[in-house]
């Protein structure tokens, strides 16, 4: 059985115990002295000896009471550290783990969204790249050709109308000639009639011998009348045709003027549209080029941001290592308490061992640097962001 006794300070009572034994030995010697003094009837000595014995006993009991209180305090202290280990530290560890998980979830979601943005930008750039910068210019050139073709068709149609108008003008000239010819026919008929009359007169002068000639002259007069009527009708018809041609010519002239005005307006409108289209096209090309440049820049920025998000992996590992170390402490505290309960001795927690386990769990150089520095002030913040070397095997 051990002679040491526990104290509230964690060390054994190796100093107090000899004192106690000394008191007990002294008391034993004094009791023997009292007995000897009483035997020899030395009452004064016996009284002093008895007083010393009584005082020693009282001091001895006071010390025992103090030691009992100290042991109770030690037990209470160990119970509190045990509770710290089983009730408080798991909560700390849970908070660390929850924070780590929340950070991981948030960073993963953030990364996912950034990744989506990068993908969409990539697709947009690819799509705009398929059209190429020449796409809008080509569309403009094609539209320009098409509309110029329409204008050319319009001008061709106008040229055809002008040719037709010239033909109608020519017809007017023929009408005048026809009218002249009809007048000449009428004149010939009139002269023929005069000749027939004269022939009839001469036939009458000839008497019986001129009777046959008179009949002939009569028939010639009839033909002359018919020719005159025909010439008259021809003149009338030519007049109608001439009027129709004049109306047609006037209509053609009016139409030509309208078409010319319309063609001019169309050309102006088409040129205006093409000019605006060209302006829009050039603006769009400039915007597209700027958009592509900006998109590419944003993509690069996002990728850079994603690279920076790797801090989450490093922080997560650090938190996991610390949490595991915290989770080890409750068992150590419980072991210390069990030792006290079993032997009454206070067993110190192995802080060096715990630190050693923590250090052994490190993966990153900056973790080790932080550990070596031993205080947050020396935490190498810049080291976490530095890019590392590659080792090829």
């Amino acid at each position: 059985m051990s002679t040491s006794r526990p104290t509230p300070f964690g060390a054994s009572a190796s100093v107090a115990t000899p004192l106690l034994w000394r008191w007990q030995s002294t008391a034993f010697a004094l009791v023997a002295g009292i007995a000897a003094a009483a035997t020899s009837r030395d009452l004064a000595s016996a009284f002093v000896a008895a007083a010393l014995v009584a005082g020693g006993v009282v001091l001895d009991r006071m010390r025992a009471a103090r030691e009992a209180r100290s042991r109770q305090a030690s037990a209470a202290f160990l119970a509190s550290t045990d509770r710290l280990g089983h009730d408080v530290l798991p909560v700390w560890a849970a908070h660390i783990e929850n924070s780590r998980q929340q950070m991981e979830t948030a960073v993963a979601a953030l990364t996912q969204r950034f990744a989506g943005i990068v993908d969409r930008l990539d697709q947009t750039l690819r799509t705009s790249g398929q059209g190429d910068d020449k796409g809008l210019s080509a569309a403009f050139a094609h539209s320009n050709d098409e509309l110029r073709g329409v204008l050319d068709s319009l001008k061709d149609a106008m040229a055809s109308n002008a040719a037709m108008h010239a033909e109608v003008q020519n017809l007017s000239r023929f009408v005048a000639e026809l009218q002249q010819m009809a007048a000449e026919v009428a004149d010939i008929a009139q002269q023929t009639n005069l000749l027939a009359i004269n022939a009839a007169i001469e036939a009458a002068h000839a008497g019986v011998e001129g009777r046959g000639f008179a009949v002939l002259a009569q028939e010639v007069r009839k033909l002359s009348a018919l020719s005159g009527a025909t010439g008259q009708r021809m003149a009338e018809k030519v007049g109608v045709i001439g009027e129709a041609i004049r109306v047609a010519r006037d209509a053609a002239q009016a139409s030509a003027r309208r078409e010319a005005a319309s063609a001019l307006a169309s050309e102006g409108a088409i040129n205006g549209v093409l000019d605006r289209f060209r302006g829009v096209t050039q603006a769009m090309e400039a915007s597209t080029a700027e958009l592509k440049q900006e998109s590419a820049g944003i993509q690069v920025e996002i990728v850079e941001a994603l690279v920076q998000l790797q801090f989450q992996d490093r922080v997560s590992q650090r938190m996991t290592h610390v949490r595991h170390n915290i989770e080890r402490l409750p068992d150590l505290l419980s072991a210390s308490r069990r030792t006290f309960d079993a032997s009454g001795a206070l067993a110190p927690v192995d802080a060096d061992g715990l630190l050693g386990e923590l250090e052994g769990s490190y993966a990153m150089a900056d973790e080790r640097a932080t550990h070596a520095a031993g205080a947050p002030k020396a935490a190498p913040q810049a080291a976490a962001a530095e890019l590392e070397e590659v080792t090829f095997f």
Binding site: E104, V107, A108, L110, T111, Q112, A115, V118, D122, V303, L306, V307, Q308, L309, Q310, F311, Q312, D313, R314, S316, Q317, A363, M364, A365, A384, A385, L387, E388, E389, V390, T391, F392, F393
Partner: protein, 122 residues
């Protein structure tokens, strides 16, 4: 036809960052959340390179490399360890297991792509 690269990491965000870098360079990407998950997903398809973390749950990266080297279809697939683990002893373990390169996080995409282009199977 695009080459396929597998990225194995228990951090989803890191898998995404690596995935973006590789996809933007024209590679197809397979993902595994740890060593065991990666082995489950290696079902005989052609994989031109594997990039793996070291410290992972269920099966760590170095154990995974050892297992992959036992698979005939992936025996010669180059493996790059991409990790925060900087201890020389761990690097030596990775080399002994059959890894081709050891790259420390954080990485930057051009650096990663340079390593990939150097090691990826033709």
């Amino acid at each position: 036809m695009a080459k396929t690269i597998m990225i194995v990491d228990d951090s989803a965000s890191l898998r995404q960052v690596v995935g973006i870098s590789l996809r933007s360079a024209g590679y197809d990407v397979l993902e595994g959340s740890d060593g065991a998950d990666a082995l489950k997903k290696l079902t005989g398809q052609k994989v031109h390179l594997i990039i793996s973390d070291v410290n992972m749950p269920n099966m760590d990266g170095i154990s995974m490399v050892k297992e992959i080297k036992k698979l005939p279809a992936y025996k010669f697939t180059p493996i790059v360890m991409l990790t925060t683990e900087s201890a020389d002893g761990k690097k030596a373990e990775g080399q002994a297991a059959g890894a081709k390169a050891w790259m420390l996080k954080p990485f930057n995409p051009p650096q990663l792509l340079a390593v990939v282009q150097k090691l990826v199977l033709p």
